[in-house]
């Protein structure tokens, strides 16, 4: 689908835009996807223009339109945009993509529309692992990432084990409840550790709330190999997952191995969530909202859903980040607060439906 979109996007877009103008039908998925990409570009631009500091939109626009000249005339704006806002935007894009894809994969593999890495304790698992690692004297960024990913893997395995227990796997809501309790337990264990180790508490305080502020672009580099691996595995796994959505017997009949697929998906989710958590702290509800919107736009096929998660995840995270900078101008809000305020109503809306859809 990638090459298809790249090569034929323009002519297809024009044709289907014309078609829906005449017929009044909703635009085709390709058009919607293109519109989402345009929206993402606009939001990315906005995130470069607006900020909590005193480099306003006008000044930022001038600096952006003549970036090299700004290095001489307006070095403050040049610095703010090049050194602060641009890395932040990059991290927002990576975190958004990782959390959105991870949410979609986890929902597909547990067949549960509510499964969200933050709610199910995957993020809490990696946060707890990082707390332990810092307590035992680790502070290098690479170590933190691998530790976070291991913790996320532990959380994922707990989820999978709970989902396979009698009666839990068939009830989406009970699985979420178990995850929420697990999150609470890990959270209070983390706070217990912070309580009797002042150094760890100082080290982790800025990380545990979930925020994009004060992160360096160089933090992204150690993350690259694991993200590349996750991307590769996602591409390979998309087809088997789509088959698995038809039922285990059908998938076996089509030549897939459900157990292997499930295990690999869990590894991918752990890589993505652990990486995102290591760099931005535990950010909840993104993995719920993004696949929810993606399914509404793209339909039930997991392959299309994943494509739509690509622009939707960064849209949610970057726009939440913009809001977090603008609400209380001199200071900033943690990103996790904004995503929770967006995500909780979606959760309630899903739960309120008469029939919970099984994926």
């Amino acid at each position: 689908m990638a090459s298809f979109i790249n090569r034929h996007a323009d002519s297809r877009v024009m044709r289907s835009l014309k078609a829906c103008r005449w017929s009044g039908a909703s635009p085709s998925p390709v058009v919607t996807w293109g519109l989402l990409m345009i929206l993402l570009a606009a939001i990315a631009l906005l995130s470069l223009l607006f900020g909590a500091g005193d480099v306003g939109p006008g000044r930022a626009w001038q600096a952006l339109s003549d970036f090299d000249a700004a290095a001489m005339h307006d070095s403050e704006a040049h610095f703010v945009i090049g050194e602060l806002r641009l890395p932040r935007l990059g991290i927002g894009l990576v975190v958004g993509i990782a959390l959105g894809i991870a949410g979609a994969l986890l929902q597909a593999v547990t067949r549960n529309p509510l499964a969200e890495p933050g709610l199910l304790g995957v993020s809490a698992g990696s946060a707890f692992a990082v707390t332990l690692a810092i307590l035992w004297g680790a502070d290098a960024a690479t170590l933190r990432i691998s530790v976070a990913q291991l913790g996320a893997l532990g959380g994922c395995l707990c989820v999978l084990a709970a989902a396979r227990l009698q009666g839990i796997g068939n009830d989406p809501v009970r699985l979420i409840l178990a995850g929420a309790i697990l999150s609470g337990l890990l959270h209070s264990l983390s706070s217990l550790i912070l309580l009797f180790d002042q150094y760890t508490a100082d080290e982790i305080r800025f990380w545990v709330v979930g925020s994009l502020a004060g992160r360096d672009a160089t933090d992204l580099m150690p993350l690259a190999p694991s993200l590349a691996l996750a991307a590769l595995l996602t591409v390979i796994l998309a087809r088997p997952l789509a088959a698995l959505a038809l039922g285990e017997h059908v998938a076996i009949g089509l030549g897939h191995h459900p157990r292997v697929v499930r295990l690999l998906v869990i590894v991918v989710v752990a890589l993505l969530v652990g990486g995102a958590t290591a760099i931005a702290g535990p950010v909840t509800f993104v993995g719920l909202v993004v696949p929810f919107a993606a399914r509404a736009l793209a339909g039930p096929d997991i392959r299309r859903t994943l494509w739509f998660c690509l622009p939707l995840g960064p849209i949610v995270v970057v726009s939440a980040d913009i809001v977090s900078r603008l609400v209380v101008p001199p200071s900033e809000l943690p990103l996790g607060v904004i995503t929770a305020l967006i995500g909780a109503p979606v959760l309630i809306a899903v739960v309120r439906r008469r029939r919970l859809p099984m994926l």
């Binding site: 709970a162 209070s188 706070s191």
Partner: protein
């Protein structure tokens, strides 16, 4: 003991078949105790007491008294012997001992007693009405709502109400949101619990938002409300809660019979003459009031509302709702958790909210994941 008063009122109202001596002896054999109080010309008042429940409640009360004594006697300042502690409590002994017991430990122990009782009673009522052992006020988002409002009053966002009133409002708002959004309670399984988690997440985010906006001093002043602690609690909030706890307990005892029937189903309750919606409304109101006022004292220690009733149900009979037992057990759990938090990492004090969360979460998971565990109380 909890079904004593309600049974008594029924006996005087109907008097359909008076107990004969043989019936009474049968009752005695099956673990019931029949008390007959002569009332002059009117028919005598007969009270049936379940022996096992009476024993259970006496046991809990005894345990509570021992634990209160231990809590008063131990601490980092001075560990007193039993007689010395009793003497200091009554005003004898050295000035230091009297100061430590009266000024430092007694307020803390009283705060623990009333908050533990209030949380557990609220939990017991809500679990029964929702027909779900997991439906405690903490999970349904009441604790977070009350905390958000209490923090709002502490960090001073232009609202000049006292923390107890604000916490009460917060609990009521959260309850209205959760139950309003999911329709009715106790009918649609686990869904309102997840809606409650959502409501709780919103209020938790709002609390975070307020704490990041204010100066560090105000944030520190509000911090105990966010983790749940019994350290240096406001005295007026404790006295308001104590005043509310007694009528709430009496109302709950009065409701015991309706609640017992409510455990079955709305249809059975209605056919036995219990108005299901009225009973539900009363029980939920009591639970909301108690939770709000208790959060204003100790912060969100919601797990007590799970552990206390669970403990009480284990040791009393299955045929009533252990209202009094749950209250006593909640107070026990609160005091024990506080004592543990003070002793375990001795120079540092672990907040009681963390201790109860560490004990309660595995219990909660076990209830949820064990296929053989009963999920209805």
């Amino acid at each position: 003991m909890s079904n004593m008063l309600s049974t008594a009122s029924r006996a005087t109202k109907y008097e359909v078949t008076p107990f004969s001596r043989t019936q009474a002896s049968n009752q005695a054999q099956t673990g019931k105790l029949l008390l007959t109080l002569p009332l002059g010309k009117r028919p005598p008042l007969r009270i049936i007491i379940d022996k096992r429940n009476l024993l259970a409640n006496l046991l809990l009360a005894g345990l509570l008294m021992v634990l209160t004594g231990v809590s008063l006697a131990t601490g980092s300042a001075a560990t007193l012997s039993g007689p010395a502690m009793l003497g200091a409590l009554l005003g004898h002994g050295s000035a230091l001992d009297i100061f430590v017991v009266h000024e430092l430990r007694l307020p803390r122990v009283v705060a623990g007693l009333v908050t533990g009782g209030a949380f557990a009673l609220a939990g017991c009522l809500m679990q029964t009405v929702a027909r779900n052992r997991l439906a405690t006020p903490g999970i349904v988002g009441l604790d977070n709502g009350a905390t958000a409002f209490a923090v709002a009053s502490v960090v001073g966002t232009g609202i000049s109400l006292a923390p107890p009133a604000m916490a009460l409002t917060g609990a009521a708002v959260a309850a209205a949101l959760t139950f309003g959004l999911t329709g009715s309670i106790g009918v649609r399984g686990y869904r309102f619990l997840v809606a409650g988690i959502g409501v709780g997440a919103v209020f938790g985010a709002i609390t975070q938002l307020m704490l990041t906006r204010v100066s560090i001093d105000a944030a520190n002043a509000a911090y105990p409300w966010t983790v749940g602690s019994l350290n240096a609690r406001p005295a007026h909030a404790v006295s308001i809660l104590s005043l509310a706890l007694l009528p709430a307990l009496l109302a709950a005892i009065r409701l015991t019979r309706s609640l017992t029937v409510m455990r079955l189903s709305d249809a059975v309750a209605t056919s036995l003459g219990v108005s299901a919606s009225r009973c539900r409304l009363m029980a939920l109101s009591v639970a909301v009031i108690l939770t709000g006022l208790a959060v204003a004292v100790a912060g969100p220690v919601g797990m007590v509302a799970l552990i206390g009733p669970e403990f009480a149900r284990q040791i009393s009979t299955r045929n009533t709702v252990p209202v009094v037992g749950a209250t006593l057990a909640g107070a026990i759990v609160m005091l024990a958790a506080d004592l543990l938090g003070r002793v375990i990492l001795a120079p540092i004090e672990v907040p009681v909210g963390i201790v109860t969360a560490l004990i309660g979460s595995p219990l909660l998971l076990w209830i949820l994941l064990n296929p053989n565990a009963r999920t209805t109380p």
